[in-house]
Amino acid sequence: MEINKKKEKDVLVISVSGRIDAVTAPDFEKNLSESIGAGEKNFLIKMNQLEYISSAGLRSILAIAKVLKTKEGKMIFSGLQGPVKDVFKISGFGSIFTIYDTEEDALKQF
């Protein structure tokens, strides 16, 4: 798993590639928690290059989303592919989170 971050106005764009599984999910959660600690509260998670996610990854996403909500921040997603898209659908995460096809569309929502 690799995480790259960039700032677009007041939105932190987080590109995550590779795999978020039981091994990498704690690192993913820690990385995003650090950004929350640094005062960030609008997250766009770009998943164009994410090949795989398991329930451990969803668990981390939900934990971060709950924290962001208490800070009146938000987390939205873009570019879900293949298996990642399926996992979001089956888990219901596709309904509780807002998902866009592209980064451009997603950024308009903040």
Binding site: Y52, A65, K69, P83, V87, S95
Partner: protein
């Protein structure tokens, strides 16, 4: 065995979910063993058998999470097992010599089950 990449990814996901569940809960506070094996039948069925000697646990009897809840109400657990029950063609569980024996069974050449609801 003719599984497409999407199906392989689903099988991989389910195997991870079962193993992680055993790692986290089967042997609280002590080391333990897990045995995993794959069997293919002539008609193209792939069976993945996962055996542990930990706490007896039948994933088929666990409650499904409520996937319609909002972010605030949504609980964190239970999703992995739900994936296994949703995605595998068949799941079988039994106790054998004081062990949990779980079989994930998939028909070969099957087109992925559509997940759209």
């Amino acid at each position: 065995m003719g599984f497409d990449s999407r199906r392989l990814s689903e099988i991989e996901l389910c195997v991870e979910e079962v193993l992680v569940n055993i790692f986290n809960y089967a042997y609280p506070g002590e080391p333990g063993e897990v045995e995993i094996s794959c069997h293919s039948a002539p008609e193209g069925t792939l069976t993945i058998r996962i055996v542990d000697s930990g706490i007896p646990f039948n994933i088929l009897s666990s409650d499904d999470p409520d996937i319609s809840l909002s972010i605030d109400e949504r609980h964190i657990g239970g999703l992995g097992i739900y994936f296994v029950k949703q995605l595998m063609d068949r799941v079988e569980y039994h106790r054998e010599n004081n062990k949990n024996v779980l079989s994930l069974i998939n028909k070969g050449n099957a087109v992925s089950r559509p997940v759209d609801k």
